[in-house]
């Protein structure tokens, strides 16, 4: 059974030191830069990063649509082409098109016939919330409806790996919820679901694991809670006139410091320890506020940090983890 052909350590997807560079008139763009990661079966993984971070480039290489300049990409221990040939991958691309002059049902039926172990077409339409659109022409649908047709195509093969690039863009709230409900069921069935998104709340709610990339490099990898912690789980602010910068920078568990006149804003991976150290040093800050970071703030903090340290130095973030 091809279903069991996995690499020895059981990873569904492996990236080993993968790089991809594009050449633009302004010079080379390192879209993906020495990326290494492994995805385990049954996980729901969010792939998070700002625009141009290298998400789509990585997914394209994962799916074998483009080749890495260096490094190794493996699906189920083999090539993407092999995995796809055996119906192991259901994918929904941002750049994926649909047929014209066919109905929704015909389009999805074609996909069912292309895959070796399809679920019934009616079932796929129902799960994608388009049971009522079966007889409509695909090219006459709205963007959000077409998105759901693509979703039906991604799940109809009953493939063990589902890859979704920005799957809910253009969907309204109701359909987005229906979409994630279906995705959860797939995850319960033991399928690996990898989705790229810029909706941080989706990553927070639905992913067991969040992989943050920026400028083509892996910035953080862990549960949403771990990511928040690594970004400096707490934001700490207080009024403290005249405190030297050197004192602030020596504080333990510090991720980020910002000063605005007498107000100091800190991000800390352990706000208690940071605050006690400041008190122990003999300072008495006023108007103390401690606030938890959401994933969105954590994400912004991580990428902002990365962007400010330039191309080589990720020491601050690494130290915080």
């Amino acid at each position: 059974m091809p279903r069991d052909t996995r690499s020895p350590d059981g990873a569904v997807v492996e990236f080993e030191n993968v790089s991809k560079t594009f050449h633009s008139p302004k010079g080379p763009v390192h879209a993906v830069n020495h990326l290494t990661m492994a995805l385990q079966p049954g996980q729901t993984i969010a792939f998070l990063g700002p625009n141009g971070a290298g998400k789509s480039t990585s997914l394209n290489m994962l799916l074998g649509l483009s080749r890495p300049d260096s490094g190794r990409v493996a699906l189920f221990g083999g090539t993407a082409a092999d995995a796809i040939k055996h119906g192991m991958v259901g994918a929904m691309l941002q750049s994926g098109g649909l047929m014209s002059d066919v109905t929704v049902r015909e389009q999805v039926e074609l996909w069912a016939k292309l895959h070796p172990r399809p679920i019934p077409v009616t079932e796929a339409l129902k799960r994608a919330n388009i049971a009522d659109l079966g007889d409509r022409r695909v090219d006459k649908l709205s963007g959000g409806q077409q998105q759901r047709v693509q979703f039906a195509m991604a799940i109809i093969g009953d493939s063990p790996l589902i890859v979704l690039d920005e799957p809910t863009t253009g969907m309204d709230v109701e359909n987005r919820q229906a979409f994630w409900a279906t995705m959860r069921e797939r995850a319960y069935e033991g399928k690996t679901v990898l989705f790229a998104t810029h909706y941080l709340e989706e990553a927070d709610q639905f992913a067991e694991r969040v992989i943050v990339i920026n400028k083509g490099r892996l910035l953080a990898d862990g549960s949403a809670a771990e990511i928040k912690a690594s970004a400096g789980a707490k934001r700490l602010s207080f009024r403290l006139p005249g405190v030297p910068d050197a004192v602030l920078h020596r504080l333990p568990n510090l991720v980020h410091v910002e000063r605005q006149a007498d107000i100091v804003r800190l991000q800390s991976s352990d706000s208690d320890a940071t605050l006690y150290a400041l008190l122990d040093a003999g300072y008495r800050p006023a108007e103390i506020e401690i606030q938890a970071l959401g994933l969105e703030q954590a994400f912004l903090a991580i990428t902002a940090e990365d962007n400010s340290v330039g191309d080589t130095d990720t020491a601050t973030l690494e130290a915080a983890r």
Partner: protein, 240 residues
């Protein structure tokens, strides 16, 4: 293989549903033949009604082979449909295979409709075997334009594919004598086109039952040229 056939079936269905094909490849040549074809003169050694029947059947078959596919391939590459197909177990050649078979299938109605009008309304007469051979010859000759469609589809954008088709096809159709018989310099130029020679194969079969080697070489030559262009365009598009 069954997956490829399913895609092919759907592709044929789409062409039939699409108005452009019905107009350019069937309705237009049939209408022109009904309007113009009844003159009781002679051309190229056969009755004009037979001459124009072959001309319009050639026109319709070539238009059907060329116009649909070229624009569809260009559009589907741009829209991401071909990328989408690459994410399924469909073999890599499945897409082009479906397109070529679709083209070959959609040339048949063009020929049959015009031949039908010739046989039943315009009283073109010839032995049964000549009807069959003529239809087969046209069908095989239209493969030339099936290749050209693939070449254009993989070389041009959806916006430029249409003008590219028009720029190649209409001069070839007109200079090939498909719209009206030509003489003099224009015919001398036209003789080098596959449109002219494919049509001449038909008139030769009707008048003498013998065809010239020149006709075969010209049609075959263009066929090989367009096939090479198709392979070249397909390969360079795949590498991007």
């Amino acid at each position: 293989m069954s997956a490829t056939l399913t895609l092919t079936k759907l592709d044929v269905l789409r062409v039939i549903r699409n108005g452009r094909y019905l107009i350019f490849a069937i309705a237009m040549p049939a209408a022109l033949y009904l309007i113009i074809g009844k003159q009781s003169t002679q051309a190229d050694g056969v009755d004009f009604k037979a001459y124009y029947m072959l001309a319009m059947a050639t026109y319709g078959a070539f238009a059907g082979a060329l116009m649909n596919n070229s624009i569809r391939i260009a559009t589907e590459r741009k829209s991401g449909w071909t990328r989408q197909l690459r994410l399924t177990p469909l073999p890599g050649w499945g897409y082009v295979f479906a397109k070529v078979v679709t083209s070959l299938a959609t040339t048949i109605p063009s020929v049959l409709v015009v031949f039908g009008i010739g046989a039943f309304l315009n009283h073109v007469e010839m032995p049964a075997w000549k009807w069959v051979v003529n239809a087969l010859v046209l069908w095989i000759a239209s493969m030339t334009f099936v290749s050209l469609a693939v070449a254009i589809g993989y070389r041009f954008d959806p916006e430029t594919a249409q003008p590219a088709v028009m720029l190649v096809f209409f001069p070839m159709a007109i200079l090939g004598g498909l719209w009206f018989p030509l003489g003099g310099t224009l015919e001398k130029i036209g003789k080098w086109f596959p449109t002219y020679q494919a049509h001449k194969l038909g008139t030769d079969i009707i008048s003498s039952g013998k065809v010239s080697a020149t006709s075969i070489v010209v049609v075959l030559g263009w066929g090989v040229l367009f096939a090479l262009l198709a392979v070249f365009s397909y390969r360079s598009a795949k590498e991007q």
